[in-house]
Symmetry: C2
DNA sequence: GTCAATACTTTGTAATGACATATTGACGTA
DNA sequence: TACGTCAATATGTCATTACAAAGTATTGAC
């Protein structure tokens, strides 16, 4: 199958790496339907030649798309398009970011912003002895005027200043980033349970209504625990969606 | 910080790639605590030299661990250990595999194994016109003798033979793999809702009890839809756990 | 005509060399 | 002392080359 892709020439003066330029061009071609699922790409030597690149650079571009689930490669066979559109890799993002990306314009009510002694669960999650003072946030997140989630976060006190006004304007992760804290890894658990009376009232659901629960521990560049959160979402208005890539 | 790691020499005759051997050694050292979070590794040139490898190979080993969230690199600074233990990357696995890996010994009851016409939802998910005949499976998964999930799967008829006896012995994904079908990409949505009376009875929960829901569309090597499933899990006994890696 | 050995294609792994760029810290000067 | 500059250090990008291994197709023998 020939590839008469009209290609934008690469910009070697750009700070954007060549492999990334190529990967993006391919990704656009796939998303635009120019390379429908099942298409076999030329072999990497040929492609490298077409683009005027070396084979490692071309491989790197292809590898990037393989890892994102757009392409599949098999030795002796070739490279094929698997999937036209990837929702977005599971990534370390916040609810605020997700909603903003979806054009939802989220708002936040800060219910609690104080310092409390850590209980056992919070202590172990943050790697601090129980009883240590930690920042405790409780926030209500709304989208389109409707309550969506109640979020509870615990952070080490010395980490960053979090004024309530700022938290009503921006997401927690945005504020952390602005403070030069780079989140790198997180472990999270997603489950479900029934709403208590208080939770139901807050979220505008019936008592006993099913809620999605998510608890997350997020780590820094340097391995420090930055944040531990336990959140509840209205199951009627929210779900977690992502793309998995195998092998 | 020096690195007097006692290293197993690399096996150049092994079919296991050198970069992977190195990555595993580092991973073990990190998990064993020999390289606690925050440790700065030697620079990659030094490391390559220590192992007797070229820089690209050493880079590849490090890169692998960076992508899994164990290490962090910053240009001009160096490579640091972030996190000692990674739960397990979010991967394209089946409930059966997950339970087996956790040592739970799952069992399966096949409730329905038949061919039905696809309704609208199933049709669009599988990319077939509504009304097309598709294989319909309904299975009850138990762990430790207790019901855990009810799973409904829809598959194209021509894909593979799925005898009920085989489905009681093995997981669906195992059977697909055995038939030479390589799952590559999947998109899934995790939510929650209340159990209907029938569902509650089947799973041994009270009516209205919160359930975790997961629907997944899984794709082949070549981009074909292999399977569409809508599953419900007892929230009291199951949750989704994974590690996210940022940036 | 069938089956097995072989050749070819394509990706996978690895080494070597070169230059670019971000970061830190030290040094020197105002 | 404060600030800017520069050097040292580390990772990031890219090219070139060679060989290994897997999968497919072809060819040849029986």
């Amino acid at each position: 199958m020939p590839e008469p892709l009209l290609r934008v020439p690469l910009d070697r003066t750009s700070p954007v790496p060549l492999y990334f330029q190529v990967a993006q061009q391919l990704e656009h071609a796939i998303e635009a339907g120019a390379l429908p699922p099942g298409t076999r790409l030329d072999n990497e030597i040929q492609l490298a030649d077409d683009y005027g690149l070396s084979r490692p650079t071309m491989r790197r571009a292809i590898q990037y798309l393989v890892e994102r689930g757009l392409l599949v490669r098999r030795r002796g066979v070739g490279t094929q398009v698997v999937h036209a559109k990837v929702k977005r890799q599971v990534e370390l993002s916040s609810l605020y970011d997700d909603l903003t990306a979806a054009g939802q314009r989220p708002t936040t009510q800060v219910l609690v912003n104080t310092v409390v002694p850590a209980d056992g669960t919070v202590g172990t999650a943050l790697g601090l002895p129980a009883g240590t003072a930690v920042v405790f946030l409780e926030r209500l997140r709304l989208a389109g005027g409707e309550p969506l989630a109640r979020m509870r976060n615990y952070l080490p006190t010395e980490l960053v200043e979090l004024p309530t006004a700022a938290l009503e304007e921006r997401g927690l992760y945005q504020l952390l980033r602005a403070a030069g804290i780079h989140l790198r890894v997180a472990t999270q658990v997603v489950g479900a349970r029934a709403a208590t009376a208080t939770e139901a009232r807050l979220l505008g659901e019936a008592r006993g209504a099913p809620l999605l629960t998510m608890s997350r521990t997020a780590y820094d560049d340097s391995g420090r625990v930055v944040e531990f959160g336990t959140h509840i979402y209205r199951a009627s208005r929210y779900s977690f969606e992502h793309t998995l890539v195998g092998r």
